[in-house]
Amino acid sequence: MADVNRGQRPLSPFMIGPYYRPQLTSMSSIMVRISGIVSLGAAVLLVWWLLAAATSDGAFAFIDGLLRSWFGDLVLFFATWALWYHTLGRLRHVIWDFGYCFKVETAEKLGIGMFVGATVLAILTAIVV
């Protein structure tokens, strides 16, 4: 395999910034990743709360008080938004994977739909819960 170039192949550069103007399609896609990682962080709080409930009154009182303070409410609201947004964003990827909605205008509409949908669902969650 003398003439095969292994391990020295060029990698694609980081596009956003120098080569690629930020726009709705790319920003809504990056937000999917960020919202997913935020959701993973929020899961730590929920699992902590669940474990505390299973453990003792003292442990539960601490984390329950934290989550039900105004700051906890704020954190949970944004976490809920992130989880809804992430779910809708991944649904958009499923739609793309199945070969639909590739036109830029349609993809941009889906992006707006993700922002609006997540916001409506988060507010609905805050009202119901």
Partner: protein, 123 residues
Amino acid sequence: MRYLTDRKRAVGLGSARTGTQTHWQFTVRSIVMVVLVPLFVFTFGAGLGGTREEVLAYFSQPFPAIVTGLALVVGLVQLMYEALEAVEDYVHGIPGELARVAVKALSYTLIAVSLFALVKIAL
């Protein structure tokens, strides 16, 4: 003089290997999440905001316990792969490998802890 055929040169370059399976499983979980996330948000949300006795009574019922367990197992696996994908894109080499291990360790620990808590509450 080039001794290798074009095909031989191409083998192994850009192959997806297990990536196809990983991608398809990601797609499947994405579809599952569309059902599971609404179920989880409203079921878990209904359990928040009571005294400890109320919380224990709520999560010892079959439906809230099963929905929470399912959402935390499937959902955390999905979010784990989301985070792994981010690590693979931005962190390379040994730090990248260690970051992948950390993400997996955190995710599986969260799953194990939540299952322990649910079992303790429900049984």
